[in-house]
Each structure stands twice: as C-alpha cells, then as structure tokens.
C-alpha cells in the first residue's frame, strides 16, 4: 500500500499558543484513520493545516507524495481531497440537488466551458444517485436550510463525496446527530468506503462511531500524538484513558 497522505513534523502556533506540535503520521490508501482527543487538542487545526485553510508554522504535508503545504483548498479539492467541517456547512438557499451539483461542478471542464455548458454541468444524474445513496430522495428539491440538523449532516457528508474524492477528511460527522441518524450515517460512510475504496480521516468524539468505522486510531493531546493503534488497543491504553477518556 502507498501513503495517500503524509504529515511530517507539522506545527501550528497562534501567538504564544502551540495548537499543533510536531505531528507526523501517514495514511495508507483505503484506510480509515480516526483522530480522537479532548477539546482543544488541535484536531481541527491539524485538518485546517492539511487542507490549506491555515498555513502551518512548520513541517510539511504531502498528498500522493507531492508537497501540498502551500496549496489552496480549491486546488487540493481538484486533486481529489475533500472535507466536511465541524459545524454544518451546507448552502441553505440552494436545493439539496443544487448543493450536490455545486459540490462536483468545479471538477467539470474549464471555467469558461462551465459557463457555456449544461446548467447542471452534466451532474444531474450523479447528484440524483448520491441523493439516493444517502436516502435523501424525498428532499431533493427542498432548500437545504429547511432540512433537519441530521439531514443536513447527511447532505454535508454527501457533498464531500460528490466529486469522487480519493481522500476525505471528516470533521466530527456525528456531532449533534441523534442515534438513529448516527447509525444511518455510519452505515452510509462504510458503504461508500467499501464501494469506492476511498481513504478517510475522521475526527470524532463519539467513541462507538470511531470504534465501528475506523481501522486505526490516532490520539492527540495538547497538539501532540500520544497514542496510535487499532481502535481496541487505543481504547485500552492507560495514557489515552487518563488524557481523554478520563476513567
């Protein structure tokens, strides 16, 4: 297996505060890596540095072996790297279908060809398939802002997959989602992973979700990796229990 994502000695400081402190890890193709850690441990900052939303203070990030530290998020997305955010990030005034078409349209041709091409950028059927895959068919024409929180979370995840990415970074996909919807979301993510062989990196606090979905788990505390291994190993690790699980 080859590394899709390589993070080497990544650091990010905000004034005198070090949010990410020399983090290094690799993610292999087809892997589902979970990242857990207490609030403020630097998980989202790590994501933002990997995805070009924040410029790291040191270290480097490589996607498929190519340096991506200085790339913009839109360029990374076009390379096949996608993400979701901790807080809901759908476009409330667009319909569910249009949210999904938007999520894929920038991968179709040049900017000029998109202007003169089809209104749905040729993604209408793909959007309908994705809507069906995430079981949102009855809501396809609804404005995204009118959906329930759980449904918006599903849409948010579906948007991350719309362009057929090879690497998906999911930031707390289960956050605030009720148990029924949580099981549905986990099952859909697992199904997508099985079908497309995509690589996932998942930040999550919901331990059952992480244990069921991830093949490997990495634990962050105060910006550093304190443990790494299979989900059951990590759960039993006394350092992790002390730093994170608190029992």
């Amino acid at each position: 297996m080859s590394a899709v994502l390589e993070v080497s000695d990544l650091r990010k400081t905000f004034g005198g505060i070090t949010a990410v402190d020399g983090v290094s890890f690799e993610v292999q193709a087809g892997e589902i890596l979970g990242i857990i850690g207490p609030n403020g441990s630097g998980k989202t900052t790590l994501f933002n540095c990997i995805l070009g939303q924040l410029h790291p203070s040191g270290g480097e990030v490589r996607i498929d072996g190519s340096l991506s530290t200085d790339m913009r998020p839109c360029d990374l997305n076009r390379l096949g790297v996608s993400r979701t955010f901790q807080l809901l990030q759908v476009f409330p005034r667009l319909s569910v279908r249009d949210n999904l078409i938007l999520a894929g349209q920038e991968h179709r041709g040049s900017m000029l060809s998109r202007l003169f091409g089809r209104g749905d950028a040729g993604l209408g059927e793909a959007a309908d398939r994705m809507i069906e895959f995430f079981r949102l068919s009855h809501l396809a024409q609804q404005q995204a802002g009118a959906l329930s929180y759980g449904q918006q979370k599903l849409l948010d995840a579906a948007m991350a997959f719309m362009a057929g990415p090879r690497l998906v970074l999911l930031d707390e996909p289960a956050g605030g989602v009720n148990l029924t919807m949580l099981g549905h979301l986990r099952e859909r993510l697992a199904a997508y992973h099985a079908e497309r062989k995509a690589t996932f990196v998942v930040i999550e606090h919901q331990m059952e979700f992480v244990m069921a979905l991830c093949t490997r788990v990495l634990v962050l505390a105060q910006g550093r990796i304190i443990a790494e291994g299979a989900p059951q190993e990590v759960r039993a690790n006394p350092i992790v229990v002390e730093a994170y699980l608190g029992r």
Binding site: R93, L102, E106, F116
Partner: protein, 326 residues
C-alpha cells in the same frame, strides 16, 4: 409558482411595449431611464445580491460608460463600437476593483468602492482636457442602425428596452449555469465553497467585472438618452440610488432590480402630486418597506404567494376530508 412567474413576465413585456404609446414625451423619457438604470441595477444585483460583494461603485461605472460613448461617438466611432468598448473598459476596471474584495469584506469593502467612486468623480471633474470638467458634454447624438434612427424618444426607448431584454436574457442564462450556483456559494459560505473546489478568488473578480461591465453598458445608453452629461450625475448619489434599487426590489432575486428601478425612477415622479412633500413621502415609503420587508418587494410578493398557497392547500385538505367523511 413558475407558471405564475412566466405569466407575470409576459404581462410585463406586453406592458413595456404598449406603455410608450399611452405616454407623452416626459413619460417615455422616464420609462427609458427605468430601462437604462435597470441594466446597471442588474449588474449590481449580480455583484451584491448573488455574489455577496458590496459595491458602492456602480454609479462610477455608469459614468465611465457614459463618458466613453460621449467622447468616442463625436470622434466618428460607430456607436456599437463605443457601446462594446464601454462594457469592456468597465469589465477591466471592475476586475481590478475586485482585488480589494479578496482582502476585505462588508463595510470595509463598501468604503474601498466608495473611495473609487469619489476618485472617478474627481477625475471626471478635474481632467478638463478630456471630460470638459464641470461644463460637461452636450449634444450627445443618439445612434442610427442600418438607417434606423433612434433620435426620437419613442424609438430610443425601444432601443433601450431591446438592450434591457437582451442583457436580461444573457444574465438569466449565466445565473442558470454553474456560474450562478458558484456566485450563490460565494455569498452564502465562501470557506465551504473553497473546500469544494470553487475558485472563490476568480469568481469574486468575475462577479465584480461582469457587474461593472453592465454598469458601463447602462452608462453607454444613459449618455444618448439624456444627451448631456456632467460629473455630478455620477457621484455617490447615483451609486446609493442603484444600491437602493437592488435592496428595495429584492437583493439576490432576478426580478428585484426591475421592480427596484421602477420604485426609484417612477415613484418620486408619481409622488409629485404631494408637491413640496414628495421626497419626504417617497423616503417614508422606502423606509417602511425596508423596515417591514428587508427582502424587498419581490421577497414580499413571494411571502404573500406562499401564504396564499398554504391557505389554499389547507382549504383543499378540509374539503377533501369533508368529502371523505360524507
């Protein structure tokens, strides 16, 4: 809703074609001004309403377009060339003006564009060798196309209306393309848009450039309409007026600028029956509208339609229930 909208558009077009035959020359002048300023408001609606970039520079672009035509046509340039030139020049300047929008947003951006409008006004006023300064440029000719002269008020109105329809169709088509969706994404959530591959930098510049070019095209019609232009016509007042048209009509709604321009151009004239109080009355109406319906006239109409539909659906459900019960 869609059928109702198509019906309203058809009635609007028929009214716009028939109306000048019922009006005297000042009335025709007013509806020509409505058509011309609607084009500028459509441009601002694209920049502000769809792409979410506030601009107080639209009046300046109308001025640049107007001076472009007023300076070129007496030199023998065909009007069509000057018209296209005005659009292209404003596109290029609008693109450059978009760069500050990559760094600042909201009221900071408003101040940047406000400064630009002031700069253009000062250039038009002070560079007398080019613009004739405060004395302005008069006797701007109206164009002739293949022997068809638009010198009369009626014909020039139809020329303006034709330009408005052509530009509206082009903008409608653009907003239905993936660009329209990208502009909305830029307005609603630029960070998420960026993470989905939308090059927010390029779309921001494009929104400014296209919106500004429509301002320039509006100016290219404005100059032969009024036939006399001077710098103060394109000072901040016009930019604020165009902003008001977009907000009052309904920012981010395609037909918002049409209604907003109608309110801004025709309402003050209708209010003249109140004589000296007409501007106070006009300002009060606008303030009330904004206080009770910030989404503008089109937003208000949409809400009314939704309320009526909901009531009709409820009535149908009750009726169906009674029939089943019977």
């Amino acid at each position: 809703m869609r059928r109702l909208g198509a019906g309203a558009v058809a009635i609007g077009v028929i009214a716009a074609v028939a109306l000048p035959f019922l009006l005297k020359s000042f009335g025709i002048y007013l509806i020509s001004m409505w058509a011309v300023l609607t084009i500028a408001a459509i441009g601002l609606n694209l920049t502000l309403g769809y792409a979410g970039q506030i601009s107080l520079a639209q009046g300046a672009f109308v001025g640049i377009g107007a001076y472009c035509v007023a300076l070129l046509t007496p030199e023998g340039f065909p009007y069509a060339l000057a018209f296209v030139g005005a659009g292209l020049l404003c596109f290029a300047i609008g693109w450059l003006l978009g760069y500050p929008a990559l760094r600042v947003q909201h009221h900071y951006l408003a101040f940047v564009t406000l400064a630009f409008t002031t700069l253009v006004f000062l250039l038009l006023r002070n560079e007398e060798w080019l613009t004739n300064g405060i004395y302005g440029i008069n006797a701007i000719p109206r164009p002739t196309f293949f022997g068809w002269s638009t010198a009369s008020a009626l014909y020039f109105y139809f020329f303006c209306l034709g330009a408005l329809i052509a530009i509206s169709l082009a903008v409608w088509w653009m907003l239905r393309s993936p660009w329209g969706r990208a502009f909305v994404a830029l307005r609603e959530n630029p960070i998420r848009a960026l993470s989905l591959g939308v090059d927010t930098r390029r779309y921001t510049l494009m929104a400014f450039a296209i919106g500004s070019s429509l301002g320039g095209l509006s100016g290219a019609l404005y100059a032969p309409l009024v036939q006399f232009i001077e710098p103060s016509s394109f000072a901040l007042g016009l930019s604020f007026n165009l902003l008001m048209m977009v907000i009052v009509g309904g920012s981010g709604f395609f037909f918002g600028p049409f209604v907003g321009a109608l309110v801004a151009v025709l309402l003050p004239e209708w209010m003249r029956i109140a004589q000296g109080y007409y501007l106070i009355l006009y300002a009060s109406i606008v303030m009330l509208l904004m206080a009770f319906c910030p989404s503008g006239v089109i937003g208000l109409m949409g809400r009314a339609f939704n309320a009526l539909s909901a009531r009709r659906d409820r009535a149908a459900t009750v009726l169906h229930g009674e029939r089943v019960g019977a």
